[in-house]
């Protein structure tokens, strides 16, 4: 885990006019966003705002109808972007085997994978469970393992989709500690959460989305004290209704 994350220059990331409308249903309606090379950005917004879709577009899982993604002046890098899902997959294997899964495409030796895996498990507090089955871990431990798996690949950009949804406060605090450590290690983090307290604790800046577009991108303190858009103000006050669509 020593040294900064690998990968060439991929910042600033410029998203311009990103639009996604499967079957004519507009889910992203011209998203514009700029991301610099450090810090933690939290994506806030009501359900159906397009936050997760934006993450999926950034990691290549979603091909938008139109718009551009500019990675430091080039195309999307082959490696360097990782995503941790709300419920990370756990193979029927040990915690250690799951932790080193992301190293498989790199073709490292078994010994190298193992030593790196143990090191990252120590950092997320799971080294003592390295040989237990990953599927028998608690939800919080599985989320920490998901973060460890992503961290081990030393991504330049880490996308987190509600990593603490359904976790208790102590598990949430542990995940937040790890997220801070990953950031300190030099990884740029873009994270979706519905937990406003968590956004306050972790974020350097907030991107507020609603109705498939970005309404506001401001430093955290300013977002919560003086939101620029009416939607953001209403969201903070709990007045913005969730978009229900069937």
């Amino acid at each position: 885990m020593s040294g900064g994350p690998g990968g060439g220059a991929m910042f600033p990331i410029r998203v311009r006019g990103l639009r996604h409308a499967p079957n004519g249903r507009e889910l992203l309606s011209g998203v514009d966003l700029d991301l610099g090379d450090e810090g933690i950005t939290v994506l806030l917004g009501p359900n159906g705002a397009g936050k997760t879709l934006l993450l999926r577009a950034l990691c290549g899982l979603l091909v938008p109808c139109s718009g551009t993604l500019d990675w430091g002046g080039g195309a999307q890098p082959e490696r360097g972007v990782m995503m941790v899902f709300q419920k990370p997959m756990m193979l029927r294997a040990s915690v250690l085997a799951n932790a080193v899964l992301g190293l498989k495409p790199l073709g490292l030796s078994r010994h190298d994978c193992r030593s790196r895996g143990i090191a990252v498990l120590e950092r997320v507090g799971l080294a003592h469970r390295a040989h237990d089955s990953a599927r028998l871990l608690s939800g919080g431990e599985q989320q920490r393992l998901g973060l460890a798996r992503a961290w081990l690949t030393r991504p330049r950009l880490l996308l987190l989709d509600e990593p603490t949804a359904s976790l208790d406060p102590s598990a949430t605090a542990e995940v937040e500690r790890i997220v801070r450590e990953i950031r300190t290690d030099g990884t740029r983090i873009l994270m979706v959460t519905h937990n406003l307290g968590q956004a306050t604790r972790l974020a350097d800046d907030i991107v507020f989305m609603s109705g498939g577009r970005v309404h506001e991108h401001t430093p955290t303190r300013r977002f919560f004290s003086r939101p620029q858009s009416d939607e953001a103000r209403r969201f903070i006050q709990g007045e913005l209704p969730w978009r229900m669509s069937f």
Binding site: C59, G60, L61, E78, R79, V81, M82, M83, F85, P88, M89, M90, L91, R92, A93, L101, G102, K104, P105, S133, A134, R135, L136, T153
Partner: protein, 232 residues
């Protein structure tokens, strides 16, 4: 009549009759060989179809499913034509040998194992695909990872293949010829001894066949339950 036949059959088993032992041994070799080959071909084939994106994927899946019901005599005839003197592999002289029987049984079990593997791996692929794609797994890395992850469920495919191989009679009869001490296996021996009226030997072999299949299923069942407790 039935009681005395059964008593004679049990006596054959209790005295480890050399005819029974020979036939059971050859059956295990032939069916075991076919299942090993079927596992090596069928499971990766099924997993590759599940993970792959290619034109005609649905058609291939339908074909594999349809081939599960392939009549064993048809496979026997096809292998017979391939291995007969005038066939493309006639020069190898494999017809009426255990190797020909292994080939025929392999052709029978591959579609069955591939179809089950495709279904099992496809279910897992739907759950894991996005994370494996984000980690930039290649097609083959995804296939091998999923095969390993589904290994306990895929035991069903192996057992199904073994069941089909051990219980089929048509293909091995055609390509093996049911030659005494050369290509006679349990199913062909049962058919022959019954037609000859030597029912004790037929029943003794039938008992062995059923006990073997029950034992293998019990082991697989236990293994799967142990794995579920161990890995969740």
């Amino acid at each position: 009549m039935f009681a005395s036949t059964l008593t004679d059959a049990v006596r054959l088993l209790a005295t480890f009759d050399h005819r029974v032992a020979e036939i059971v041994g050859l059956s295990l070799q032939v069916s075991g060989g076919a299942v090993v080959l079927g596992t090596l071909i069928g499971l990766p084939l099924g997993a590759s179809i599940a993970v792959g994106r290619f034109p005609g994927k649905a058609g291939v899946s339908v074909l594999i499913n349809a081939l599960m019901g392939l009549p064993s005599v048809v496979v026997g005839v096809v292998v017979y034509l391939l291995l007969s003197r005038s066939g493309p592999f006639g020069a190898f002289g494999l017809l009426y040998t255990p190797l020909a029987m292994v080939a025929a049984q392999t052709l029978l079990v591959v579609p069955l194992m591939a179809a089950i593997a495709r279904q099992v791996v496809e279910d897992a692929w739907q759950r894991y695909a996005e994370e494996l794609q984000v980690m930039r797994f290649t097609w083959w890395q995804s296939v091998s990872t999923l095969l390993h992850d589904c290994r306990h469920s895929l035991l069903v495919a192996v057992l199904a293949g073994l069941g089909r191989a051990m219980s089929e009679v048509g293909a091995v009869m055609i390509v093996g010829g049911n030659i005494d001490r050369a290509t006679r296996v349990m199913t062909t021996a049962i058919a022959l001894e019954t037609s000859k009226g030597d029912l004790p030997l037929a029943i003794a072999l039938g008992i062995v066949l059923i006990v073997l299949i029950l034992a293998l299923n019990a082991v697989a069942f236990g293994l799967r339950h142990w794995a579920m407790r161990r890995y969740g």
